[in-house]
Amino acid sequence: MKTVMLAALLCIASPFAYAGGDAGAGAQKSKACAACHGADFDTPVSADIPVLAGQHEDYLARALADYKSGSRKNPVMSGQAAALSAQDIADIAAYFSGLPGKLKVIRLHRLVQ
């Protein structure tokens, strides 16, 4: 009975739950990304391509979801993201966000005196 209830609860809750990303799976799914964003994802091959290594996981997932839905447009990224499932996006975002890179935040308190 407990199992059935738990299963039922999961069925109800899962569409609303944040699909946690698996960085290991993301590493496998992001091989194609390296062609433009760089093998370390910190040195893109062209200046118009963003650095991804270390970027916030939820922002990366948002960007990919927006490319997939068409609300954010880029000739290359629209095609790439179209093929990704929600789980793929979560996995890839988890992988990139865990990589070391040059991105950082210039803290507000260092700018305002």
């Binding site: 391509i49 970027q55 916030h56 948002r62 991105l103 935040v105 700018l111």
Partner: protein, 161 residues
């Protein structure tokens, strides 16, 4: 010649012969060098628009041509120092580690320090034009000049300690 006006007030500066010479001379001098508006093939003496309309169009065309050329030639050069007086609208979100935007979606705002200047310029221009959608960023980007955008791109792409 059928030009009916020789002066802006519509009065003729002389007899019929004077008008003809004036109109013909102006027509040749203005329209021949660039052939803007395709008047080259038109008989300057044929039934056309009044001279002042044609001359005005030609002059406007020339001004547009020159301005477009100047705009294309002058991509603003970014100045990271100058950006320091322009970042107040950026740091309230991008200067707080882990800061989240909440509308229309909730997520941490991206780290932008360390991106390339071209990426930042493209992003701001896309927000400004509406090609990239985010209500807050659109509002902010619409208030930025091309020079502002270049300066901010220089600032955020430079290494900061």
């Amino acid at each position: 010649m059928h030009y009916t006006t020789g002066r802006m007030d519509g009065t003729a500066p002389g007899g019929p012969q004077t008008r003809t010479l004036l109109a013909g001379g102006l027509s040749y001098r203005i329209h021949s060098p660039l052939n803007i508006g395709g008047y080259w093939h038109q008989d300057p003496g044929g039934p056309g628009r009044p001279l002042r309309v044609r001359a005005m169009k030609t002059i406007l065309g020339l001004i547009l041509f020159v301005l477009t050329g100047a705009a294309l030639a002058q991509a603003p050069v970014g100045n990271a120092e100058a950006a320091k007086s322009k970042i107040s609208m950026c740091i309230g979100c991008h200067g707080i580690p882990g800061y989240k935007t909440v509308f229309p979606h909730v997520y941490r705002v991206p780290m932008i320090t360390g991106q390339s200047p071209l990426y930042i310029v493209n992003a701001l221009q896309a927000y400004k034009s509406g090609a990239r959608q985010h209500p807050s960023m659109r509002g902010i980007a619409q208030g930025l000049s091309e020079q502002d955008i270049a300066d901010l791109a220089a600032y955020y792409s430079t290494e900061h300690k």
